[in-house]
């Protein structure tokens, strides 16, 4: 049962990644692409992390996975903000 749940979460996570990639390809400008990418991917990674944490059955591993996810969240948020800011600056210049 737990296995099934974790597989489901992982597949849903991959689906979020797919949505992010399609958004990156199809959306019309940088800011919308940024929006699609950072939200969908970080959520997708979270799903994969929770799925794998359930699968591992070990608390240490689960904590480690979740820590990496938090780092990706913080890093991704900062990077996205910096990239948007730089693009805005270019536009104004």
């Amino acid at each position: 049962m737990i296995d099934f749940l974790s597989m489901l979460l992982i597949i849903i996570g991959v689906a979020f990644f797919a949505a992010g990639s399609i958004g990156l390809l199809r959306l019309p400008d940088l800011y919308t692409r940024l929006h699609a990418l950072t939200k969908a991917d970080n959520l997708g990674l979270g799903m994969i992390v929770i799925g794998l944490a359930l699968l591992s059955g070990s608390l240490v591993m689960a904590v480690k996975l979740i820590l990496v996810w938090i780092l990706v969240l913080a890093g991704g948020a900062a990077s996205a903000h910096l990239i948007a800011q730089q693009a805005l600056r270019r536009e104004r210049a």
Binding site: D3, M7, I10, I11, G13, V14, F17, A18, G20, S21, I22, L24, L25, L30, R33, L34, L37, T38, D41, N42, G44, L45, I48, V49, L52, L55, S56, M61, K64, L65, L67, V68, L71, V72, A74, G75, G76, A78, S79, A80, L82, I83, Q85, Q86, A87, R90
Partner: protein
């Protein structure tokens, strides 16, 4: 009963394919920021892929690799956006 390994491997393959899709943006651009976005995608997707591989290959050390990748991907994005003190 399903095979956990096979499903994880299929998930890894699909994740890789979405990364290929995202890399098309790196090839087309048009701006440097657009390309960098696709590197961000490759970073996040790479972290996910490394975690999946850690379980498929039963190599817990790959989680450390995912950690390093997450730290350094943030640094690369930062390096792209910084300006010299002399610029305005």
């Amino acid at each position: 009963m399903f095979n956990t390994q096979v499903i994880l491997l299929i998930a890894a393959l699909l994740l890789l394919l979405t990364m290929v899709l995202g890399l098309l943006r790196a090839m087309h651009g048009p701006s440097l920021q657009d390309r960098m976005l696709s590197v961000l995608l490759l970073g996040t997707g790479g972290v996910g892929l490394l975690m999946l591989l850690a379980f498929i290959l039963e190599q817990p050390a790959l989680i450390d690799v995912a950690l390093v990748l997450a730290l350094l991907a943030a640094m690369t994005a930062a390096a792209l956006t910084r300006r010299k003190a002399s610029d305005d």
